[in-house]
């Protein structure tokens, strides 16, 4: 948004509004819809009803965790184990609020954070941080616009995928294969987004423990082994290593 021609020139930019947030969400919307579509198709293929697929998107609203939920539920993992695994996976979200608000400055309002923080996904966090890094000013309406656009794309994409159904892609094997690879691609991309030199031992140990647990016990045990071994590696590392 540009300022009127007769407006005084100030050093501090205007805070972004709801519409600016929606505009900033456009790349996320374009990306979220096909991934959510893939989730809807996968969910119905795995035996969930369309309503259950949409419910997962509405309530959990965390893409990677939702795909994992499908894998865990359909593999027969106990729901408590599934819930703990999914919650552990989403622990990374703890760091987003402080990182965003540190960038936004001390004057940033957080009165309505209880609502907009629901939509603080990896991508929304990245887009908000990117906007602030480009000199934009933080505002809660902007966070609502950004979050609502992304959320609408995620839920509607899931609904369309669920309506299409698990057999919808049988005639399109390339599309079927591509959508099937969405999950590993998403995990790898997320891994790249959080990768730092100090985390390499954590990642390596988690990977090896996952393979070992999967080969020697089963897939669910492999996931638990990987997460626990990786997190312990991070906790046990020497403080000065960072």
């Amino acid at each position: 948004m540009s300022a009127p021609a007769d407006a005084p020139v100030t050093a501090t930019p205007q805070p972004m509004g709801f519409r600016d947030g929606l505009t900033a969400a456009l790349p996320i919307i374009v990306g979220y819809f096909p991934i959510a579509f893939s989730f809807g198709v996968s969910a119905t293929r795995a035996g969930l009803t369309g309503g259950e697929a949409v419910m997962l998107s509405v309530v959990i609203y965390a893409g990677a965790a939702q795909f994992l939920a499908l894998a865990l539920v359909t593999s027969g993992a106990p729901l408590l184990v599934s819930a703990v695994t999914l919650i552990a996976m989403n622990l990374r979200h703890l760091l987003y609020g402080p990182a965003l608000l540190r960038r936004a400055g001390k004057e940033a309002s957080t009165r309505q954070a209880w609502a907009w923080a629901f939509g603080l996904t990896d991508e929304v966090f990245g887009a908000a941080l990117g906007a602030l890094a480009r000199g934009k000013r933080f505002s809660e309406p902007m966070m609502f616009g950004l979050g609502l656009g992304a959320y609408a794309a995620w839920v509607s994409g899931t609904a369309v995928g669920a309506l299409a159904g698990g057999g919808a892609l049988a005639a399109y094997p390339a599309l079927d294969a591509g959508l099937g690879f969405m999950l590993p691609a998403l995990f790898l991309a997320l891994l790249l987004s959080v990768l730092s030199r100090v985390q390499i031992p954590t990642i390596a140990v988690a990977a090896v423990a996952t393979i070992a647990g999967t080969v020697w016990i089963d897939g669910t045990a492999g996931i638990l082994c990987g997460m626990v071994a990786g997190a312990l590696t991070g906790v046990l590392r020497r403080p000065h290593a960072s």
Binding site: P27, E52, A83, N90, L94, A117, L120, M182
Partner: protein, 106 residues
């Protein structure tokens, strides 16, 4: 709608919301970088994601026949997409498109 599935989703959804909202109140940014909690939080995310990436790729490696080349190309496409735009969404879509095309052609 299965009640147990809804209960699990609700627990995960509530925890995820608490992870996203809670720190805006607790101000974890003042946490000492070398504290046990900070190291745990820093390690848990990458450990979880690395675990899930490996777990999601293993079935492709275990299945017999034809997945190696699409898997390699799809992985390279994710790396290339991320290097290009630094975007999780773009990298994911690049990987899926290349994997799908490679699967059809190989």
């Amino acid at each position: 709608m299965r009640l147990d599935l809804f209960a699990m989703a609700l627990a995960v959804g509530l925890a995820t919301w608490a992870f996203r909202y809670g720190p805006t109140r607790l101000n974890l940014s003042n946490m000492a970088p070398d504290s046990l909690l900070n190291r745990f939080l820093n390690a848990t995310g990458p450990a979880a994601i690395a675990t899930l990436f490996v777990a999601s790729v293993l079935p492709y490696l275990e299945q017999a026949g034809g997945h190696e080349i699409p898997l390699a190309l799809g992985t390279l496409a994710v790396l290339g997409g991320f290097a290009w735009r630094r975007s999780v969404v773009i990298a994911t879509l690049c990987g899926a498109v290349v994997f799908g095309l490679a699967s059809a052609l190989v």
